[in-house]
């Protein structure tokens, strides 16, 4: 796991567990606000894809894991792809381009302990999502048995399904990294 994150050229230390936990809470709060805002503005019609893009962006900038960049090393244990083209001007202007030296394997290769942590985080995330997916199943059952019980919710049931699918996808993309950031103890500050 990397000990710092680069935002607009500024290096921010994430060695402290408290900071990492604050980041995790902030990311999920931002997702909740985004979902609520999109619901109020568009009713998620045609805007659900933005949530997926936001999740991918959060992975690239902060979380890492499934995408290169971010705090958690890539889960696939492979070096990031070397682009044939130079980095885009926007990335250079925003200073989010982080070149990885070719011989620096520690930036992407997980050691034995990190692989074990990765697998265990996925185990915990899998259990959590496995239990959480029972909630939409329960709602689906209630809807089929007694639709009147859900009439007080100011949402179409299909919109509830769609929203829950979006939430499931957000969790699928971010939960293992969030668990890793949450449980990793304080790291040594880079000198």
């Amino acid at each position: 796991m990397n000990a710092e994150v680069v935002i607009l050229g500024r290096r921010i230390s994430m060695a402290s567990q408290t900071r990492r936990r604050t980041l995790v809470v902030a990311i999920y709060a931002a997702f909740a606000i985004l979902l609520a805002a999109l619901w109020l503005l568009t009713g998620w019609r045609g805007s659900g894809a933005y949530v997926i893009w936001a999740a991918i962006l959060a992975c690239r900038l902060f979380l890492g894991g499934y995408y290169s960049g971010g705090l958690v090393k890539p889960f696939n244990n492979k070096p990031p792809k070397e682009p044939a083209m130079p980095p885009p001007l926007l990335a250079l202007k925003l200073r989010v381009y982080q070149p990885v030296p070719a011989d620096d394997q520690s930036a992407w290769r997980n050691d034995e302990r990190e692989l074990h942590q990765r697998d265990h985080a996925h185990y915990l995330a899998y259990q959590a999502i496995g239990v959480a997916v029972c909630v939409p199943m329960f709602i689906a059952s209630i809807r089929l048995i007694r639709p009147s019980l859900l009439s007080w919710i100011p949402m179409q049931p299909d919109a509830i399904y769609y929203g829950l699918t979006l939430v499931a996808l957000i969790l699928f993309l971010t939960l293992p990294q969030a668990i890793l950031l949450w449980i990793e103890p304080d790291m040594e500050e880079p000198r």
């Binding site: 996925h122 185990y123 496995g130 997916v133 048995i145 996808l169 699928f172």
Partner: protein
């Protein structure tokens, strides 16, 4: 990871070939149930208000069918992932006490299945990493399916929402056990 005490004592799962047949039969039965439930809900029930029995059936499938494979619960082919807290005392201790009968103890076969050792925990986490990666793609596929259903019409969207969560729950509750049973090599037969 394979439990010592099989749910069917007359049926040995020591050979990988046998376990693969079990897995194939399980998925054929589970998907047949899935198709039957969806077909019944869509065309041959009092849809959209089916009876309690019609809804109890899919919940039973989700709750009890994966238990045959184990993992999520004790008593299946795979050892329980989280261990077992309460175990029935099935045998008597070999030591005769001075007063009264020998104390009841856990049978040796059950005792081997209560907790996972270090190697098994590592294997459990690795399998969940692989299962998580597959389930992530499945969730994305289900979102695309919901888009397609929305294009087909509102009644298809309702059916797709219900079917998507049922399928996702079935996969989430069964996939790790499936991978373990499929990949675990042949075990030594007890002599």
């Amino acid at each position: 990871m394979i439990a010592e005490s099989s749910p069917f004592p007359w049926f040995s799962t020591a050979r990988r070939r046998t376990r693969r047949i079990v897995v194939a039969v399980y998925w054929v039965v589970a998907l047949a149930f899935f198709a039957l439930i969806q077909w019944k809900l869509a065309f041959h029930s009092s849809y959209p208000v089916p009876t309690w029995m019609e809804l109890l059936f899919p919940l039973q499938v989700i709750l009890f069918l994966p238990a045959i494979l184990g993992g999520v619960r004790a008593g299946g082919f795979v050892k329980p992932f989280r261990g077992v807290r309460f175990v029935p005392l099935q045998e008597r201790d070999e030591t005769q006490t001075l007063f009264g009968p020998p104390r009841p103890v856990i049978s040796s076969m059950t005792a081997a299945d209560i907790n996972l050792d270090e190697r098994e925990r590592r294997q459990r986490d690795q399998v969940h990493f692989a299962a998580y990666t597959s389930a992530r793609w499945l969730a994305l596929g289900l979102l695309v399916a919901q888009f397609a259903a929305a294009l087909a019409g509102p009644e298809w969207l309702t059916r797709a929402g219900n079917a998507a969560f049922f399928l996702l729950a079935l996969v989430l509750w069964s996939l790790p056990q499936t991978l373990i049973l499929w990949n675990e090599p042949d075990m030594e037969e007890p002599r």
